[in-house]
């Protein structure tokens, strides 16, 4: 297999990795994160806007984190605090971000298709990969440690499995879930920043379903950081091999379908047993 393709796969997988890690965190706390797509897009737009305004891509990343956290906060407000259905709130947020980014794009730059170009990170980066890619690769073990070796991670996992039991032991499930969702937003925001900085502009709807692929990665990876990372790398590999596969006669559309079909198969239990966190999707109880 070409080294080219492997390198390309890692680069393509980077936004997926960030979003999927965010997804793992929020889902392990019990909140379904349909809004990863919106958080990616918001991060991409914020990165574009901030980098364009300041000329410094790191400000773009910071802006992306902020935007991701803001969207995460909105998500948490709707689904955790107001106990709205997590899926509906997620769908609403995705729609909201699409509309808001296009609206702001039109207002700030006069176009509703793309923003003006800006200088991202210098090309080449550090040892084959731009810095954000390294960020993604380092984030995987970081999240793993966070979840399995820290107190916060323990509280998070406990909330995800049985919020009532966790509460009886002094954990505040509300706060844990809100924190988890906001953290997920921050991570997904970075993923979006990478997207925008790589192409040096923001194009409308540029996340193009990656948030859902990342969510698929979470499921295929059985809600574990390393598993999700593996799945995302595989999806990145599929995307990187598109051209090669096309040469072999496989149409692009079929290659693009691979992540989705794989997810459905995995969930149906053909790839080992797929057990989500027990309180996933269940709003916190109303008896307080």
């Amino acid at each position: 297999m070409d080294v080219e393709i492997l390198l390309s796969a890692v680069r393509l997988a980077t936004p997926l990795l960030f979003a999927a890690l965010g997804g793992v965190i929020s889902e392990r706390s019990g909140v379904v994160n349909i809004a990863l797509e919106g958080k990616l897009l918001a991060g991409a737009f914020a990165a574009a806007a901030f980098t364009h305004a300041t000329g410094n891509p790191w400000f773009g990343v910071a802006g992306a984190i902020g935007a991701g956290m803001a969207i995460g906060a909105l998500h948490a407000l709707g689904s955790v605090w107001l106990r709205g259905d997590q899926i509906v709130v997620g769908v609403a947020i995705n729609l909201l971000v699409v509309g808001l980014t296009q609206f702001l794009m039109g207002v700030m730059y006069g176009s509703n298709a793309n923003t003006p170009l800006f200088r991202g990170f210098p090309p080449g980066g550090f040892l084959w990969f731009p810095p954000l890619v390294w960020g993604a690769l380092l984030a995987v073990p970081a999240v793993h440690v966070l979840l399995s070796k820290t107190r916060f991670g323990l509280r998070l996992r406990a909330t995800g499995e049985h919020p009532e039991a966790a509460e009886s032991l002094g954990v505040n499930p509300l706060r844990v879930r809100i924190a988890a969702v906001i953290l997920a937003g921050a991570l997904a925001g970075i993923g979006g920043a990478y997207l925008a900085l790589e192409t040096s502009q923001f194009v409308k709807n540029m996340s193009a379903g990656r948030g859902f692929i990342a969510l698929a990665g979470v499921f295929v990876g059985k809600w574990r950081p390393w598993g999700a990372a593996g799945a995302c790398l595989f999806f990145g590999l599929a995307e990187a091999s598109q051209i090669r596969l096309q040469g072999l006669g496989v149409p692009t559309q079929f290659v693009q379908m691979i992540p989705y079909v794989l997810t459905m198969v995995a969930l149906a239990g053909f790839v080992g047993r797929s057990r989500p966190p027990a309180s996933l999707g269940v709003p916190l109880s109303r008896e307080r």
Binding site: G78, G84, V91, A92, V98, F103, M257, M264
Partner: protein, 377 residues
């Protein structure tokens, strides 16, 4: 179990009952729309425009011109179908996020049937194509339905996956198999005359205000009929009763002997059929061909419509009309003011968020009312 309803109630009793029921259910929806309207107005103010003039422009263009009314009806038709799809699934406790994919498959199915059987008379071909659209959508929705019933996999993620798979599959078929040769944009050849349905503007109704150029077509009548059918199924058939039972509590229903697996699959199939029928509006009534990935989000807006309409067919129709007005209004605002049309999309998402919030706020108000009255939650 409810006592059987009187067989032939007097009209006044139906009217009073409907009004009471509507009032109780409308509260959160109306509040949501009002909240989103305020939010939209704030956005408009933010960019230095006057929200009232923008609204006036939109309303005048949408409701005051025949073209506008036609656009509203066309969009509303599609939204009625997708809204019914999501709403019916909701009643069974299912989340059908897959209306986008189901409608693509349904539309393509109708197109394929029309292209394959050009010689038939319209009295045979039109119903066949309609059935094909429903069947295509139903088949597409049945897969996640079966995965839910047999493997317990949540239909949300599966229907989302199916959306993307549908997009890829229909895209492949349109570009590589069915494509009108020599065209840049991927679409199929036009369907035969016999498979087309009448535009509303062509109907020989005296004083018909809708111009023949408007895309609004007879699929609207089909949509209204299907809405009535859905209401009837839910309220008056054993299947509908089982759907509602499963929706209220799957475990309880199973304990009571309801074959929950079959009900879930059936509900998804029917939901898929409703979504697929939206293809009739687009392919048979307007474009007369299948255009790759023509949907522009009406599957997702269907979710908002279903929730705003409280998952009841009558509510769905009303909500679909409202969203049709909003969609058409977006075009007007875009053309005639400095306000970008995306403010409407933001409003629509806002409506969805506010509906969710309004529900919860209403619940909290009610709970406090109970506590004050001495009852416990």
């Amino acid at each position: 179990m409810n006592a059987p309803r009187p067989v032939s109630p007097r009209p006044t009793r139906i009217g009073a009952r409907l009004l009471a029921a509507a009032g109780a259910r409308l509260g959160p929806s109306l509040a949501a729309v009002a909240g989103a309207a305020v939010f939209g107005a704030l956005l408009v103010l933010l960019i230095g425009e006057n929200p009232f003039t923008a609204a006036a422009v939109a309303v005048r263009g949408v409701l005051g011109t025949p073209d506008g009314v036609g656009a509203v009806l066309f969009d509303a038709t599609a939204l009625i179908f997708t809204g019914l799809s999501v709403a019916f699934a909701f009643r069974a406790g299912l989340f059908n996020i897959g209306a986008e994919g189901q409608l693509l498959v349904g539309a393509l199915s109708a197109t394929v049937v029309a292209l394959a059987l050009p010689g038939l008379s319209r009295f045979v071909l039109v119903p066949l194509c309609v059935i094909a659209a429903a069947a295509g959508g139903a088949a597409w929705a049945t897969i996640p339905g079966i995965l839910r019933a047999k493997f317990g996999v949540h239909e949300v993620i599966n229907t989302i996956m199916m959306n993307f798979i549908a997009s890829g599959l229909t895209g492949y078929l349109t570009v590589h198999v069915l494509k009108d040769p020599g065209q840049m944009i991927p679409h199929t050849p036009t369907i035969p005359e016999a498979a087309r349905i009448a535009r509303l503007g062509d109907l020989p109704v005296p004083g018909n205000p809708i111009p023949t150029s408007s895309p609004a077509n007879a699929a609207l009548l089909l949509a209204l009929a299907v809405a009535a059918l859905a209401a009837w199924i839910l309220a008056r058939t054993p299947f509908g009763f089982r759907v509602r039972a499963v929706g209220q509590g799957e475990t309880a229903a199973r304990t009571a002997g309801v074959p929950t697996g079959r009900v879930l699959v059936g509900a998804m199939a029917l939901a898929g059929a409703f979504a697929g029928l939206a293809g009739v509006n687009e392919v048979m009534g307007f474009r007369y061909r299948y255009l790759d990935n023509f949907t522009s989000g009406i599957g997702f807006l269907g979710i908002a419509v279903a929730l705003l309409g409280r998952a009841r067919p009558a509510g769905v129709v009303a909500a679909a009309l409202l969203f049709g007005v909003l969609n058409a209004g977006a075009v007007e605002i875009d053309l005639f003011t400095e306000v970008p049309r995306e403010v409407i999309l933001v409003m629509q998402a806002g409506i969805l968020l506010f509906v969710v919030a309004a529900d919860e706020i209403a619940r909290r108000i009610r709970r406090r009312g109970w506590r004050a009255g001495g009852g416990g939650a």
